[in-house]
């Protein structure tokens, strides 16, 4: 923290500190887990996201909910989670993730349009429910872009910037 004489300068220093924090944050990677028992889907999604977001993300993949739950940590930012998996299903995995780290953003993926499941997922803390298909990849990109860029927007908004 910089100590400044006037109020105006103090505000400016706060802004500088916030930006410095943001710069530090921007060098840190966004940690993403992909959980799906379809290895082809996992491989394709990993390649796709890595290609889109490059070095700014770190992806770890799992083929079942149990393995994912064991690896949830405090710096886990995003989980892309399939619903229908052998063993623990996506909804139970989501609940377990949220118990360990409520701040982790979970995006539920499903092969079926199931309104009841979507509502249940939102109630359990999912940020979104994406139905697998050709539009799913674009939707995931938009969601991740939004999540990854959020801290900078928050800072700008806090200092009178537009939304």
């Amino acid at each position: 923290m910089h100590y400044c004489a006037s109020n105006a300068t103090f505000v400016l220093c706060l802004f500088t500190n916030a930006c410095a924090k943001r710069l530090k944050m921007s060098t840190e990677k966004t940690n993403i887990f992909i959980v799906d028992d379809n290895q082809l889907m996992v491989a394709a999604l990993k390649q796709y996201l890595q290609n889109k977001f490059g070095e700014s993300i770190e992806i770890t993949t799992f083929n079942d909910g149990e393995s994912c739950i064991k690896m949830v940590h405090k710096d886990l930012h995003i989980v892309i989670l399939d619903y229908l998996m052998a063993g623990k299903n996506g909804l139970d995995t989501l609940k377990a993730i949220k118990l360990t780290n409520p701040k982790t953003t979970v995006i539920m993926l499903s092969g079926n349009e199931d309104i009841a499941l979507a509502i249940e997922s939102f109630r359990a803390g999912a940020k979104d429910y994406v139905v697998k298909g050709t539009d799913a990849w674009k939707k995931l990109t938009n969601l991740l872009t939004d999540i990854i860029k959020k801290p900078l927007r928050f800072i700008v908004k806090g200092f009178g910037g537009s939304k």
Binding site: A44, N51, K132
Partner: protein, 125 residues
């Protein structure tokens, strides 16, 4: 019985336009996914065949569901209604005969897709 509508221009069952698009045309990435497909699909077909032989409806439903994602990546759209029907029938736990017929169609189309992908992957070396 589903009509086996293949690509009218080429007779191919696969359409790699979508895969090429999502991988931004990067050949190494496309090749990796193709290789994964060539390993995974025969395994899934074998598992599905076993599950049908043993009338394990839950497994049939699960494999049909998984295969829907696998084939969609390779643009094998003619398989989507077949797999959807298999999944629905298995969920209802009825008509193993119909499931078996659908599986025969699935196997024929998947084998054709495997041949196409094998041939295509040669140009991605």
């Amino acid at each position: 019985m589903h009509q086996l509508n293949m690509n009218k221009n080429t007779g191919d069952v696969c359409n790699l336009t979508y895969l090429t698009e999502i991988m931004s045309g990067k050949k190494t990435l496309i090749k990796e996914i193709m290789d994964r497909f060539l390993i995974q699909i025969p395994e899934e077909l074998a598992s599905l065949k076993d599950s049908i032989a043993q009338e394990k409806f839950a497994s049939i439903q699960s494999y049909a569901h998984t295969m829907k994602s696998s084939v969609s990546i390779m643009g094998i759209t003619i398989l989507t209604p077949i797999l959807k029907d298999m999944e629905e029938l298995a969920k209802a736990g009825t008509d193993i005969q119909k499931i078996s017929e659908l599986n025969n169609q699935l196997t024929v189309i998947c084998n054709k897709a495997i041949s196409e992908i094998k041939e295509e992957s040669q140009s991605y070396l």
